[in-house]
Symmetry: C2
Subunit: 211 residues, 2 copies
């Protein structure tokens, strides 16, 4: 398998964590989202991914998979162990809901494209952009803090799907200067993952294209 | 089961379609997102859904499920027939990717909260808000048009998960005045679903709280 990735993309980071947790080695191809006007907009990459976004996972038979949540569900189904989701449908829904809060209500609003639009098209200054980011990140983290339990990770004693989405979101929160003081459960999980080999391996600064 | 829903919320609409396709009858509780400053912010509802968003599905044993993608995956696992996803993991990933384009890259950006923020906090006029919406809806639909096939529905001869997400997105696109002329496959699917009983039943204007 070959993963098209960008070191600082939180969507790419999710897939890297899932691959590392499952012990899967993949070839990585860096797509620089800023340099050269954005390498994701080049013709060769667009043929792989019509959305011109990362990540893209190409399977050994050439099949192209896009969208990090769909890719991670694929990895869970094709490589079931270690499991990222519990077996019970209700518990699976609770884990997925936390991933969805991040994937649907937080990250899309502070993704590169909307922030660039706020800055360039709507002429917003950095203070306004920061306030925008905080408007989505704070309530999202607050909801997650309420929904996760008291176990070591978000749901259980080993890392799962919710942790795969949460850790990149925390990386983004730090980058954007969001204070995590109000979320003790989340900070406890973050501290644990900082020492976990799969999370360390997947971290942006440990990537070949990391700057 | 009891579904907390708002007639015009596309996330609620997705869940209503999935329930109808599976032939599941649920009690509906309307949560008016605009009236009274937004009923989703009331104390009773916040206790159910800490994100103060719709939909919320309460199971017969009182279990509370949130986030429409997680709820729909739960319905698929708890009530497998008729299936909304194919059996093959690669095909499942392709179907889910189309749903994710909508759930992660389109709807979050034209959801009520960000549009209200653009208008009230950033003081943007309706022309600017429309341009913002078009920036996310157009490329998303273009990518979906490329990724879906030539079968009756997005993937296959019966409606599936991608259709469950696509139809509410098209409802939003019409509401926002987005031209669908460039997407013939999508328009063909839309025409088919307009005559499908489950999609008709789930349509916003056919809800008890529809205005």
């Amino acid at each position: 398998m070959k993963l098209y990735t960008y070191w600082r993309s939180t969507s790419s980071y999710r897939v890297r964590i899932a691959l590392a947790l499952k012990g899967l080695e993949v070839e990585q191809a860096a797509v620089h989202l800023v340099r050269n006007g954005g390498e994701q907009h080049g013709e060769a990459y667009r043929a792989l991914n019509p959305q011109e976004r990362v990540p893209t996972l190409v399977l050994d038979d050439g099949t192209v998979l896009t969208q990090s949540p769909a890719i991670i569900e694929y990895l869970e189904e094709a490589f079931p162990l270690p499991a990222l989701l519990p077996a019970d449908p209700v518990l699976r829904a609770k884990v997925r809901a936390v991933a969805d809060i991040i994937a649907c209500d937080m990250q899309p609003l502070h993704n590169l494209a909307p922030l660039t639009y706020l800055r360039r098209t709507l002429g917003q200054a950095e203070a306004e952009v920061s306030a925008w980011i905080g408007t989505w990140v704070g309530p999202g983290l607050q909801a997650i803090e309420t929904l996760i339990g008291e176990e070591a990770y978000c749901f259980g004693e080993t890392p799962g799907l919710a942790d795969v989405f949460l850790v990149p979101q925390l990386y983004a929160a730090h980058r954007f200067g969001v204070d995590l003081g109000a979320y003790p459960r989340i900070r406890r999980i973050e501290a644990l993952t900082e020492k976990h080999p799969a999370f360390v391996k997947a971290h942006p600064t440990n990537q070949p294209d990391g700057e």
